[in-house]
């Protein structure tokens, strides 16, 4: 009986001691995982089903929060804004990052200097970036409209214009693409150059080499970064807060900005938990879709080996 309850029973004494040491050593993380990840996830699911004003006790209300949510124009607006932002930010920065990485992977002089320059904007604090672009986008004194003025173009109001505010945030996100450039550059360096040599002998042009070697070999990296970029973009917060504070007229009210306001300005922790879970489910669902579809476009070398 006792033996059956002890999972390490059939191990040698030293193996048992090693296993014990393992669990002692990872205990900080395991504890942190339970307190700050596992418990909060379960708890927030429960809170999503309660009415819970900050400072009071949660009251179970079933699915009220969710039915309220689907009738909340701010929810739909924030979903629309965030969706458009993700659609602009993720593909745009992926294409830019791969493009720059491909250029750097050519036998370019001073690769490390170029890489430093492209990475620099990603190093500085996102808030400083947002404050800087708040100035860059200023319709009157900003850098962009000043430069456009030189070629005789009267630039739009950017962050003060309902039409341009969201595109402005997308442009700003492209500026901090440097981290991805580094990742793709490293990914490109891992493609054995023999593949290109063989392809060239076979008479493949540079376009064919790109589509038939570079893209498939890079696809796991692209896949992983698109998923990460996508999860990150769904949670965009700093930029819209600093540049537009969700405005003008809620044109940049992103999902997280809306959630933050509900939770910490309105104090509706229950409703905000429901919002958080809906965001979680959306992200998970789309991630699953991407992963499922990945077998169509992601090429893993292990598949080839198995075949």
């Amino acid at each position: 009986m006792a033996a059956r309850l002890r999972p390490f029973a059939n191990m040698s004494a030293s193996a048992r001691r090693e296993a014990l040491t393992f669990y002692v050593l990872i205990s900080p993380w395991l504890l942190g995982f339970i307190i700050f990840i596992a418990y909060p996830m379960v708890r927030s699911l429960y809170l999503a089903l309660t009415q819970y004003q900050i400072g009071r006790e949660p009251v179970f209300v079933g699915f009220d929060n969710f039915s309220r949510l689907f009738q909340d124009p701010d929810f739909w607006q924030s979903l629309r804004v965030t969706g458009l932002y993700v659609l602009g930010s993720v593909p745009g920065s992926t294409v830019i990052a791969i493009g720059v990485a491909m250029l750097l992977a050519q036998n370019i002089r001073g690769v490390s200097i170029w890489r430093t320059i492209y990475f620099l904007p990603s190093v500085v604090a996102p808030i400083a970036v947002a404050v800087l672009w708040f100035y860059v986008f200023n319709p009157q004194y900003g850098l962009i409209n000043t430069l456009l003025g030189y070629i005789g173009i009267k630039g739009p109001g950017w962050i003060t214009s309902e039409d341009w505010a969201l595109p402005s945030l997308v442009f700003m996100s492209w500026w901090t693409v440097g981290g991805q450039v580094i990742i793709y550059l490293a990914g490109l360096k891992n493609i054995p150059k023999e593949y290109y040599e063989v392809a060239q002998i076979d008479g493949a042009g540079s376009w064919a080499r790109f589509w038939n070697i570079t893209v498939p070999m890079l696809s796991p990296t692209i896949f992983f970064n698109v998923v990460l970029g996508f999860i990150g973009a769904f949670q965009v917060f700093d930029g819209p807060l600093i540049l537009t504070n969700g405005g003008p007229n809620k044109a940049t009210l992103t999902y997280m900005l809306n959630l933050y306001r509900e939770a910490f300005q309105m104090g509706s922790l229950g409703y905000a938990s429901a919002l958080a879970w809906v965001l979680f489910l959306i992200i998970m669902a789309l991630t699953v879709v991407i992963i499922r579809s990945s077998s169509l476009w992601v090429y893993y070398e292990t598949e080839r080996e198995r075949a």
Binding site: F33, A105, A125, I127, L132, Y135, K193, L228, I242
Partner: protein
């Protein structure tokens, strides 16, 4: 995801980088196409790099600009100071401008006057007038025709044809217009003050009432059509040094006098011969001031009853200062200047000690503060600028109207130029004033130094937390065998992709229950429980360390902890550096969590402080840029010295496929 646990070990950062670099070199065999393609590559990279760097550079330069240069149109790219010329021996300074003189040379000049002009027509020659609905007329567009400028509008007629017209008057909903072609034959340019000096005259022409001006001397009635244009009269900067400050009431108008190709009003001085003519450079209120330090050291208060009747005298070159004799407590008498008079007490300074008493244009003094000097409230400013120095000065006695004048002969070289052709005389100057101002601003009881201290403390605590926890956990995952390990490692990796908002509110609840809201605690305690990415990073590194080294130590009887501390960690300096740098980077730049957990500025971190600062000084871009520069500087410095650790770490985050 299943492939994640069987990831290959991470190469050591140095080794990895060199390896990558070597491989890049060996790629030179890859054909790169014709020369044109290569040039295009560099061109695209260069354009991209410009887009990456230019805003940062702009932030850097803007952080050194005085505010007016931020707002200047056309833009001023390099932070500069505007060169001024001192007006005689006074505290006034005239800004200098670049102007092209009649000889075609660029010259540093100061403005001595303006001449305004307008387009006029003689009403007796008025052509046919038409009333047209305002919505059929375009906006007025100043257009030069021959040497005359008109505010031309396009009138669209019923049949769709258009005519160029000028609006003459308003008639209810309609504008009364005349054809440009008719007007250009009779129009002329006249000085605006000449036209305005004429008597108002209401003229009726074709049934429309027009407001014109009758110039009686010439016997004509003129109608001003606009647009107004402006010429600025300028003079070589030497004029400034010849300037003399006199009381405004001593200056009398003496008509216009020609100066080269231009003309200026000239003045005579009371008590001076009529033949001595002067040009007026400025007329404004001037305020006596004295160095605050001198007022404090030598000034004192006397009761009004101890003062004799005052008389006005020039003291230290400052005219019309009230001077009286004060009876001192020891029975002696002193001659004193009355600086600040109240109903019972007067703040005075002995005449021979008022060596910093002077006049300054009121425009140079902003809203004053008040200090108590020996029982009397005295207005003062501590940021009064004279030359390139700041002074703390007391504002004393009465302001008076003064005029700065220069003898006519000195201004002979004056000429006029279109006002818009003038540009400021600038010299590059990277002043740290914005930094001083931004860092010393009081932000709800805190300054940026408070934010630095808080962020620094958090970095330190998070470093301790991560080094303690991450090394242990990473070592366990890298080296030890235990049932459930692979499963737990997968759990660890998947937490890296978990969207944090779903944990946000319960986590907030935990810290709220612990009474840690608005403290720094929520921002560092979790680092003592490890961090998935850093554990993963360090585990990859540990796996690359040969097992033999460790086994040798174990044979000598070392415990796991001893092995970790004595064998593994000393070999892991690069990976530990990466852990440290990422911890610093995240802590320094983190915004959302401080934003959620902190509410009083005394607790703010740098990022949060910057956001708060931006809320307070929304439009002071010069201060915003200086503050942002201060916030990003530490991370930029670390980045340049330890770039490879950033890059190795970033590569690892993105290459898990």
């Amino acid at each position: 995801m299943t492939d994640l646990s069987s990831l290959p070990p991470m190469s050591s950062p140095t080794g990895g980088l060199n390896h990558a670099a070597r491989r890049a070199e060996s790629r030179s065999g890859k054909p790169v196409g014709p020369q044109f393609g290569r040039a295009l590559n560099y061109l695209i990279l260069f354009v991209g790099a410009t887009i990456m760097l230019f805003p940062l550079l702009w932030m850097f330069t803007s952080s050194f600009k005085p505010e007016w240069q931020i707002l200047a149109q056309p833009p001023i790219w390099i932070p500069s100071t505007w060169i001024h010329a001192q007006a005689g021996s006074t505290t006034q300074e005239f800004p200098l401008w670049w102007a092209v003189n009649p000889d075609g040379e660029r010259e540093e000049v100061l403005k001595v006057g303006v001449r305004r002009f307008t387009t006029v027509i003689d009403v007796s020659q008025m052509p046919e007038l038409i009333a047209a609905p305002a919505d059929r007329l375009s906006d007025a567009q100043p257009t030069a025709m021959d040497s005359v400028t008109f505010n031309v509008r396009t009138l669209t007629l019923d049949d769709g044809t258009t005519r160029q017209v000028v609006a003459i008057a308003r008639d209810g909903e309609n504008l009364v217009v005349a054809a440009v072609d008719d007007l250009r034959k009779i129009a002329a340019i006249r000085p605006l003050d000449e036209v305005n000096a004429g008597k108002r005259a209401n003229v009726e022409i074709g049934g429309y009432r027009l407001q014109a001006r009758e110039l009686e001397e010439e016997g004509v009635t003129l109608l001003a059509l606009g647009p107004e244009s402006e010429l600025t009269v300028v003079a070589p900067q030497e004029v400034a040094s010849a300037a003399v400050l006199v009381p405004a009431e001593a200056v009398e108008e003496a008509g216009l006098a020609p100066f080269g190709s231009t003309e200026l009003p000239v003045y005579t001085l009371a008590d001076h011969p009529e033949a001595e003519k002067y040009v007026l450079l400025s007329a404004e209120s001037w305020q006596p001031i004295i160095d605050l330090e001198q007022a404090r050291a030598s000034g004192f208060t006397v009761e009004n009853s101890a003062l004799s009747a005052s008389e006005l005298r020039t003291v230290n070159g400052t005219p019309d200062m009230p001077v009286a004799t004060a009876g001192m407590e020891d029975g002696s008498q002193r001659e004193v200047v009355l600086l600040v008079e109240t109903s019972a007490l007067t703040f005075v300074i002995p005449v021979d000690e008022a060596t910093t008493l002077r006049l300054t244009p009121l425009g140079k003094l902003a809203q004053p503060f008040v200090a108590n000097l020996d029982g009397v409230s005295v207005s003062y400013r501590d940021d009064y600028v004279e030359g390139d120095q700041r002074h703390a000065i007391a504002i004393v006695s009465e302001r008076r109207d003064m005029a700065l004048i220069a003898p006519q002969a000195v201004v002979e070289q004056a000429f006029d130029v279109p006002s818009e052709s003038l540009s400021a005389v600038l010299t590059p100057n990277f002043s740290l004033q914005n930094y001083v101002d931004a860092l010393s601003k009081d932000l709800g009881g805190a300054t940026f130094f408070t934010f630095f201290r808080n962020s620094g403390l958090l970095v330190l605590l998070n470093l301790i937390g991560h080094f303690l926890s991450v090394t242990l956990v990473a070592y366990a995952f890298a080296r030890l065998r235990a049932p459930g390990k692979n499963f737990l490692f997968m759990v660890l990796l998947s937490t890296m992709m978990l969207p944090f908002p779903v944990m946000l509110i319960p986590t907030f609840e935990i810290f709220q229950k612990l009474g840690m809201i608005n403290t720094l605690w929520p921002l560092f305690v979790r680092s003592f429980f490890g961090n998935a990415f850093l554990i993963f990073l360090l585990r990859q590194f540990f796996m690359a360390i040969p097992m033999e080294l460790e086994e040798a130590a174990r044979i000598d009887g070392a415990t796991t902890l001893q092995v970790l501390v004595r064998v593994i960690l000393p070999l892991s300096a690069p990976a530990l550096a990466t852990v440290g740098i990422f911890t610093f980077w995240w802590t320094w730049n983190s915004f959302f969590e401080p934003y959620v957990y902190l509410s009083s500025p005394q607790q703010y971190t740098v990022s949060l402080g910057l956001a708060f600062f931006k809320g307070q000084y929304n439009t002071s871009f010069h201060l915003l840029m200086a503050a942002s520069m201060v916030v990003i500087l530490p991370i930029i410095l670390i980045f340049f010295f330890a770039q490879r650790y950033f890059i190795e770490g970033i590569q690892l985050t993105g290459l898990k496929g």
